[in-house]
Structures are given as structure tokens and as C-alpha cells.
């Protein structure tokens, strides 16, 4: 069955402008994007309709650190489909202080090829 053309409204999250995008698409094929303030908006619309991704941001537990937690992020956005599974994994991670800035705490999270890294250095308590 051939897919119909439809319009989906999205808010681009690539920068604080938050452009409201009007995306004309046929299934997952993007035909036209309106409202984007820059080319990143088109990239975002295409990805959002095929394989939406988000940066993971959370904390993981630390042993013997200045604080009991260290903030972490995914190096790159990861598919939404594995987002919560990675979060689950991260709940189990416990790292030892001292930690370096951008130190990997979880390698190749859920086989996405993306590492989870610290976003600050954390000295020992």
C-alpha cells in the first residue's frame, strides 16, 4: 500500500532557538521542511522520523569521591529505542574516584558504538 503524504510538526532541539518545523513527509521519506532556522533543522527532521536520538544525561555512583555521584553523558545522541536500557545499565555502574574529565564509564553502551563519559573530573574525598 503506497504511503500518504502528511505533515508532522516538530520542535528542533539542536540549539536554543527551538525552531518549529513543519515536515512534509511520506512515511519516513522527508519531502520538505519548513520553519528551520538553519540546515541542522532538516537533519534533525529526517532523523526524528527515522531513528530519533537523544543525548543521555544522568549520574553514576562513585566510590570514595568528593561527591557520591559523578555526572555523565553519552558522547553522541543514542537511539531512543535503547535510551532506557542504557539508563538501566548505568544504574548498575559504580566507578572509583579519582575520575578524569571525559573518562569513559561505560563502553559501547548497548552496542550503539557510543561511550558514556564523565562530564567533570572528580577528586577523592
Amino acid at each position: 500500500m503506497p504511503e500518504k503524504e502528511e505533515i508532522t510538526k516538530l520542535i528542533c532541539i539542536m540549539c536554543p532557538m527551538g525552531c518549529e518545523l513543519k515536515v512534509l513527509h511520506k512515511g519516513k521519506d522527508v519531502l520538505k521542511v519548513e520553519g528551520n532556522g538553519c540546515p541542522l533543522g532538516i537533519k534533525f527532521a529526517k532523523e526524528e522520523l527515522t531513528n530519533p536520538k537523544r543525548v543521555i544525561i544522568t549520574t553514576v555512583q562513585v566510590e570514595g569521591g568528593l561527591y557520591p555521584l559523578v555526572p555523565v553523558r553519552s558522547e553522541k545522541p543514542v537511539p531512543k529505542s535503547v535510551f532506557f536500557k542504557i539508563l538501566e545499565e548505568l544504574r548498575k555502574v559504580k566507578v572509583k574516584a579519582p575520575l578524569k574529565f571525559h573518562q569513559v564509564v561505560l563502553k559501547n553502551a548497548m552496542n550503539t558504538g557510543v561511550n558514556i563519559i564523565t562530564t567533570r573530573a572528580l577528586p577523592k574525598a
Binding site: 520542535i11 536554543p16 527551538g18 544525561i57 553523558r73 574529565f101
Partner: protein, 428 residues
């Protein structure tokens, strides 16, 4: 009490203070001191672990701690002195700072210029006046952010959030990611008060129910919060009777605005604009008190930290230049010259800025005896008389001491020499 003299003192090491410290150095100030009561520099950004920072300055989407990291590296590289764990208790109009820390005890810091970068604090429940019980379980968004992100403590399970500003929406997502349930985000205005981007990635992404034109009208619970009653509001933001809904919840997060933190500024006589809650500033970010500058959320509340850093840079540059000029001024010595009927004067030179500390004394002898009333005049090379004093007599055998009062400091700004004349008063 220990005393310390420096060129530029910056109070608060958030993004505004860090940027100010770096640019004060670049402007030529030698001794720059960055003071903060927290144990690390970075200010509120240390607890803002989400991304969205630095898209303008770094052209990258950084988290709060990453933004701090890059700035803190620059601070280190610029040889700025950093005093953490140091609380500033008082600031005087003469730019004296009283600060206390476990390491140094109480210290008096005399600065040639000061940058106020104390940021802002959150509006507490009292400021918005919600009726009802006073149970535990009611927090400001910043407090919950600190509990969850730094201390690793989840304050509850079922949350209601009042306020759709960025902090409110970001906390809605954060609580959800930590396994909490956000029952409702309520916003009194008919539109969102934060960025659309945050609405999309914090609210829509997690199917969090958000209601505009609604507010919290009652807080219920004896010891601990049990529920929150909300209601729809009319155009005048007054709750409409009959629209109440009671939502079971154990935690209410208030995200209802920020107020610039200006207790110290007021002590120093800095005038506050009632419209911003921050000091009145000129184009160089100088307040009404000469040598006291201000930047960041202490001036007015910014949405993006990049702007805060830019404001800090400007204030720091201005404060740096001011300190350099002040220092040059302090190297300027005024020559004291014996004038009419004066044999010699000690000291021969004097630093006009020493008057900031208090009055100064000078001594001289006359060339011949006067047994009648004489007038001592102190005259600048610009022919302006800055002081006059009457003496009943003057004899070479008796050294005469007079003071240079603090009040004349303003009239000495371009003076290179001051001569002292002693003359008989004719019709005394």
C-alpha cells in the same frame, strides 16, 4: 585579622565571575582574586548536569559541568588566585571585603576594584504565598536539582511541579529519569515560560502532563505532603472557583522565578533597580559606587549562560582597567614644596591615595618668627587652594604639624605639586 591588598576582587565564581577574572587579567590587572563560598568554582552550573550550555561561545552543546571545566581551565591558565570555601560577609563602599574561611579565618581584603558576581537565588514558597499546611516535601527546583544531581538523594516518588520555566521542565525530566512520576506540571501563565526546546525534549518526550493557566491553590498534608490542589486561573491569574482538582503527591517542586542576590551590594551602597532587582549599571557594568562593577544573574536574570559569560567578560575588563588606572594613580606622588616663608617640609612626597586610609600629617618649619596670627595655605600647581589653617604664631624653633584631610582627595586628581605658604594675617 589578616589583611590583603589586591587589584581586582571578584565575589562569586559562577560563569560570570570566572569570565570576569580572566578578562580582568587580560586588561592588565596583576593580582586578581576569585572568591566563592562553595568548595569549587562554577556556581550553579555544577548542579545543572544537562546539556544546552555554550552553543554561542563554544559552538558546542555542553553540559553545565563541562562548561565550568573549560572556563576553570582558562582561569587556572591565567594565574588568577582562587579562594573557595570563603564566604564574603561584608563589602564597604571603600572596596574593603570581609571574608571568612576555615583555612584563613577572617580576612580583610582591600581591592582596587570589585566585581559583584553573586548570581541569584530562587523565590521560596513564602514569596508566592500558597495557602494550606506547611508539611515537608515542598522544595525549590534548585534544591531538588542539588539533592538528585550532587548528593544522590531522591526526595520523593510522586511529584507536582509549579512553573514551566526551563528549570521546572528540566527537573520534570530529571525526576522521571530517576524513576519518579511527575503527576503534573502547572503553569499560571497561558503560555510556557521556558524554551520550546525544553518543552519538546523534557515534557513531550516523556508524556508529562502540563497544564497552562493553572496554579497551586492549596498544599495539603500534616507532617508530610499528601496532595496538592490546583485550579484554573482567569486572565487576571485569579483561581476560578469550581475548577479545583486535588492531585496526590509527596513532593511539590517550586520553580517560580529567580531573584538577584544583592545583600552585599546593598551594604556597599550600591543602588538597586526595582525593575530588575539588580544594581543600576553603566555601559562598562560599573555600579553607582566607583570601582564596584557587577555581572551575571546578580544584575538581571539571564536565560542562557553564554550571555552571562559575556557580561562577566565586560565587567572584568572594566574592573581590570579601573584597577590598573588606580594603581598608576597610586604610583603618582605629589611633591610638597616649601613656599612663602617655609624652610622645609617632611615628607617631601606624598601618595594622594593614602588619603583613602585616613588623613595624613605633614611637618614643616618657617624661615623667620611670626609673633602674630598667621595663615597657612596649601596651594596646588593649578593655583587652587586645597586647605587653609590659622595659627596664633609661628617660630623657626618650633616644628609645625598640620594635617591633610581625607576630604580633599577629590581636588587632588591632577595636582603634581602642593606648596605651603605661611603669611601674616594683617588685620587680625
Amino acid at each position: 585579622m589578616r589583611e590583603k591588598a589586591i587589584d581586582v576582587a571578584i565575589i562569586g565564581s559562577g560563569p560570570a565571575g570566572m569570565a570576569a577574572a580572566i578578562s580582568a587579567k587580560q586588561a592588565g590587572a596583576e593580582d586578581v582574586l576569585l572568591i566563592d563560598r562553595e568548595i569549587e568554582e562554577g556556581g550553579i552550573l555544577n548542579q545543572c548536569i544537562h546539556n544546552g550550555f555554550g552553543t554561542q561561545i563554544f559552538r558546542k552543546d555542553l553540559t553545565g559541568p563541562e562548561y565550568v571545566h573549560f572556563f576553570a581551565e582558562k582561569v587556572m591558565a591565567s594565574n588568577v588566585k582562587v579562594w573557595n570555601d570563603t564566604m564574603v560577609l561584608e563589602l564597604t563602599p571603600e572596596r574593603e571585603i570581609y571574608a571568612i574561611s576555615p583555612e584563613r579565618g577572617m580576612v580583610k581584603i582591600k581591592a582596587r576594584s570589585v566585581v559583584l558576581a553573586m548570581g541569584c537565588r530562587e523565590r521560596p514558597r513564602g514569596a508566592i504565598n500558597i495557602p494550606g499546611d506547611r508539611p515537608s516535601g515542598v522544595y525549590t527546583a534548585g534544591t531538588v536539582q542539588r539533592l538528585i544531581n550532587i548528593e544522590g538523594y531522591m526526595p520523593g516518588e510522586r511529584f507536582v511541579i509549579l512553573g514551566s520555566g526551563d528549570i521546572g521542565m528540566i527537573m520534570a525530566r530529571r525526576v522521571t529519569l530517576e524513576g519518579g512520576r511527575v503527576e503534573r506540571v502547572v503553569e499560571i501563565l497561558p503560555y510556557l515560560s521556558g524554551l520550546r526546546r525544553n518543552y519538546s525534549q523534557c515534557i513531550v518526550d516523556y508524556n508529562i502532563p502540563l497544564q497552562l493557566s493553572h496554579t497551586v491553590v492549596r498544599i495539603n498534608g500534616r507532617k508530610h505532603l499528601e496532595s496538592v490542589t490546583i485550579a484554573k486561573v482567569d486572565e487576571k491569574r485569579k483561581p476560578i472557583a469550581g475548577t479545583e482538582e486535588t492531585i496526590p503527591a509527596d513532593t511539590l517542586i517550586l520553580s517560580v522565578g529567580l531573584i538577584p542576590e544583592n545583600e552585599l551590594s546593598k551594604q556597599a551602597g550600591v543602588l538597586i533597580d526595582p525593575l530588575t532587582g539588580g544594581p543600576y549599571v553603566d555601559e562598562s557594568m560599573q555600579t553607582n559606587i566607583p570601582g564596584i562593577f557587577a555581572a551575571g544573574n546578580v544584575v538581571h536574570v539571564y536565560d542562557l549562560v553564554d550571555w552571562v559569560s559575556k557580561a562577566g567578560e565586560l565587567a572584568g575588563r572594566s574592573a581590570g582597567k579601573y584597577a590598573v588606572k588606580h594603581k598608576e594613580e597610586s604610583r603618582r606622588k605629589i611633591r610638597l614644596l616649601p613656599g612663602k616663608n617655609v624652610h622645609h617640609i617632611v615628607p617631601q612626597f606624598f601618595d594622594p591615595l593614602s588619603l583613602e586610609e585616613g588623613e595624613q600629617k605633614i611637618q614643616f618649619r618657617v624661615t623667620k618668627p611670626f609673633e602674630t596670627t598667621v595663615k597657612v595655605s596649601m596651594i596646588g600647581n593649578n593655583n587652587k587652594k586645597v586647605k587653609e589653617r590659622i595659627l596664633r604664631y609661628a617660630r623657626p624653633s618650633e616644628m609645625i604639624e598640620i594635617n591633610i584631610p581625607q576630604s580633599i582627595i577629590g581636588s587632588l586628581s591632577r595636582v603634581k605639586t602642593l606648596s605651603i605658604d605661611v603669611e601674616e594675617v594683617k588685620n587680625a
